[in-house]
Assembly symmetry: C2
Homo-oligomer: 215 residues x 2
């Protein structure tokens, strides 16, 4: 009787375990603590660590679920726009917004190999945009990497506190103090910095496309 | 006798506790686990948690020590160069290299207010470079933020694995596959992407300086 009751209370939780639930629990854990272990994740989900292995390929597999989860929060519809600027600019705007909501996921994703099919599909479309516009294959990943680095760094900046700088008493930094007084509010600064930088990086690509067309 | 021995073995450890040792232990902990707590840090240092408070102002204080530690690994000598391009370009190259060695520190620093005197002194010098060259005060923090976001994102890219992309069997991404085959090695790609992006952002600043000179 007691064993039956135990099994009944255990069964639905195990039955509900799937990749989506594992990804959501991992994301919540990383948002909160900056990392995860498989035992911690199993505990959160109310299952044994061994059960996780029926669904994911260990830690690397969970990191790919995290990547797919963040990707789910992006709007990738602009990638189908005929204009490469609209497609790529829109993708990286959305990319930045999604990572800004999960800053602590960033270093985990940045230091592991990308295998998520959804992310790979998005990059494939961007490669098509750039090569169709004359960018040589061997240049494409360099260009996308620069945009990605900028978007990731800007996402972290968007997660910054309202007051990013505070000059302590006794520290002499008169010009920085003036610049801080003169700046827009923190959110406005982050937005302007991102849009400005994105424009410059896209303008650099446009120049390269133009120059190759003239060759 | 036993108590005396205890005190003797305890004393040097307490006497050696200083901000530098706390910062180094916190950096090692974050490099390894992605985060720290004050009790964990105290345990690493072999002291009581309360002892930490004699040296730092809680968690925020430790984060500022982390910031100063990473800053110690940067070469800030270019900031005194008369050319703003050499000064600012050199600073962000060094900034990226220092953070690339400590990618897991990035989100902790990016989401807390900067109070470290050494970091503030470096930014004060950059504000002087830009304003002396005619950039208006209210634009300066936007410009420096864009450069910083790019350098931070590029640092994370430098910490990326040798194989950043792996298209799983059954996933169709022919153009990305071609682009990956055509690219330079991963380290080469990261270097090229950073130098390319930094050049474009610095060129944008140069254009703004030029345009304002002509006004």
């Amino acid at each position: 009787m007691a064993r039956g009751a135990q099994r009944r209370s255990g069964r639905p939780r195990t039955a509900l375990l799937d990749r989506d639930r594992i990804g959501a629990a991992a994301l919540a854990l990383v948002d909160q603590t900056g990392d995860f272990t498989l035992p911690e994740l199993a505990q959160q989900l109310g299952v044994r660590t061994a059960s996780l292995y029926h669904h994911v390929d260990g830690r690397a597999g969970v990191i790919e679920l995290l990547r797919a989860k963040v990707k789910d929060e992006m709007d990738v519809t602009t990638l189908d726009d005929p204009s490469w600027q609209v497609a790529i600019g829109g993708f990286f705007r959305s990319y930045r917004a999604a990572f800004a909501a999960h800053p602590r996921v960033v270093p985990l994703l940045a230091t592991t190999t990308v295998r998520s099919p959804e992310v790979i599909a998005a990059y494939d479309k961007m490669v098509v945009h750039l090569t169709d516009n004359g960018i040589p294959l061997e240049r494409v990943m360099t260009i996308l990497t620069a945009l990605e680095s900028f978007a990731i760094g800007s996402a972290l900046d968007l997660a910054a506190p309202e007051v990013m700088w505070e000059i302590p008493e006794g520290v002499d930094a008169p010009r920085l103090a003036e610049a801080l007084r003169g700046q827009h509010d923190a959110r406005g600064r982050a937005e302007q910095a991102f849009e400005r930088g994105l424009d410059q990086l896209l303008a650099g690509i446009a120049e390269e496309i133009e120059a190759r067309r003239e060759d």
